[in-house]
Symmetry: C2
Subunit: 428 residues, 2 copies
Amino acid sequence: MADTESRTASQTQAATASEGITRRRLIGTAGATGVALGAVGAGAGYAVAASNTPEQSTALTSLGADEVMFHGKHQPGITTPLQARGHLVAFDLAAGAGRKEATALLRRWSATAERLMAGEAAASDDTDVARDAGPSSLTVTFGFGHSFFSRTGLEKQRPTALDPLPDFFSDHLDKARSNGDLWVQIGANDSLVAFHALRALQKDAGKAAKVRWQMNGFNRSPGATARPLTTRNLMGQIDGTNNPKPADADFDKRIFVPGSGSSSSPAWMANGSYVVVRRIRMLLDDWEKQSTAAQESVIGRKKSTGAPLTGGDETTEPDLEKTDAAGDLVVPLNAHARITRPDQNGGAAMLRRPFSFHDGFDTDGAPDAGLLFICWQADPLRGFVPVQRKLDRGDALSQFIRHEASGLFAVPGGAEKGGYVGQELLEG
Amino acid sequence: MADTESRTASQTQAATASEGITRRRLIGTAGATGVALGAVGAGAGYAVAASNTPEQSTALTSLGADEVMFHGKHQPGITTPLQARGHLVAFDLAAGAGRKEATALLRRWSATAERLMAGEAAASDDTDVARDAGPSSLTVTFGFGHSFFSRTGLEKQRPTALDPLPDFFSDHLDKARSNGDLWVQIGANDSLVAFHALRALQKDAGKAAKVRWQMNGFNRSPGATARPLTTRNLMGQIDGTNNPKPADADFDKRIFVPGSGSSSSPAWMANGSYVVVRRIRMLLDDWEKQSTAAQESVIGRKKSTGAPLTGGDETTEPDLEKTDAAGDLVVPLNAHARITRPDQNGGAAMLRRPFSFHDGFDTDGAPDAGLLFICWQADPLRGFVPVQRKLDRGDALSQFIRHEASGLFAVPGGAEKGGYVGQELLEG
């Protein structure tokens, strides 16, 4: 394996933030041009000759060789740049399995995640599905659901931040695809690498836990677009514009539990985060019948550029008071962008890091497609909940979407070398 | 849009074969090292600055900017290199729709495919889902099923090569997910680009045709591996080793209908091909319980390298007579590699160009995953059928797979500029 010391983390703000938890196998800076050259060998069977001349070293990467570190202050897969492929899977502990089995499982899972994220084979009986490929930015993230704590006799350690989300008027939730004792998020820029990890982690679960639900998602492939920081969803909207940036002064405070815990989070959640996962079906047949102008009125932004309807570019703040010649607000009162603006929500902020999904067509020809909405925050009561309460009442977008499944999970801080995720909880 | 004349098709044998039907937006040769640099702007909204110095021009490409040509002797998506994402969709003509509506539909579809493959927006009401991205090697391929011809009064033009496939003993076919009047294959290296095309083509169908079935698949992402010509499937096997190569003297004869037609193909199928599509479920829970040695005995090849069990490397011919110390054949009589060897099948050959699929888990925790087997040949009776007959009787692999759906479609030659796919059939 090549020397990592000579490499610098780069490519996006998100990759370098959060105290270097993600270190990618890059040489130089790919930057916004999308220009990328070369590759450094990594992983079993992966050997690539890179002619690394000085002129070229400003823009040197390879999709397969990109590696995210498993160990760190925070778990990977939170501030890691969006990946092309994702799997979400919830497990329930098996009948008879408790704290002891859960502890052994988290040990196995952490060991497997560390190996696979480094581009290595699983410790035993590897399926070879990822063989020849590099780690391809594989990340594995583990979380605990509300029901985990009673199953393991750890009720006293359950954060109040894990209290069930309130009912929302517009929810159409399928309980079988919601919540669960344990949650695993897998992301990678190669679909076979991601599937390989999914199967390895499912095998690790053994008799201790069974799959409760599982969802597949996707984002743009690296290099498909010159737009590096935001993506588009299946409605064609630019997504992620107002995401908090790791460089923001209050980013850590909003997204991660402090190192000392908090009023809603015990000490074992230090440097952890809470994730809300929602399968949001998009009613694309209805949406696509709307004119572009009608769609832009629903969102409050230009579809082409993401700029507010009041002018500027994607990063310009909307002028929420601006009226048109007829005296009507340019950004309507029920526009999605108005309701979700952080300064309209008492400073609430969450980091959205979604995948799109598409699971074929219903019998009426409507696509079963939409967004695997995934958002991260230090406390759901100050992140997702107040925003969703507002959206629930008055979002113009709500008639074109349907929340079909929901999960809330406590995602502890990252594991130290030699440790495993959730160790402070399970051994505390 | 940048000048295509200055570019040379490259990257894989398949990309350059078949009379240049695929011309990719590459500068220079990426080759087997996987080294790739730079990008040239292409498509609406896609603007990239490429510093194309002579030293760099030997290895210059970008995933998004890669473009495959719609027009040509053959349709795209047959010899095009494997793409990271694929959609297969079958349509049935609506009640009351006949030849006239089908003709108009194929005109619309061809026009949309040409635009989208060039990285342009759909002619009207584009959803913007692919906006900002390049064409990302998008290909769209159209075919006609057996039932199409009676629906349109074109029975006399139906090729005998489209006669229904024989029943196979091991088939467990779901008729609702099999066959269909029309078939569309979409491939791209970006999932959003592929989905965008799927929706645009579905919209073009309008009231003339309805989705009968639809399947999603994937392959490795470009750059994830240094192995350029073969891939691995979800069993971890190297796949595609014995595929005919476009450079083979008899490649065109085996894969494409001659320009004058043939005994089983009318003249309108000149330069076309027949595709057999099979949803092959892999029983991965059973497969993964086998030792590597047992798996290798089933296939007849080393799992790690793809080399025959009789030695050499992936491209070495197996020594089918070789015995071990105990006098047993090293490549067992029922080994998959022995049964599928072309010289064991009267020279039959088909070009396999599959996608893997994964549609979540069954309630028992078994993955609904496997291979969207797609094979191309000049005549199914000399390609797929004799091979599958042999596999049906004695393939050691058969206990680990299940054919769940099947389709056979006539895929005409490529459209000329100003023309559309199937024009010779529909206007003949």
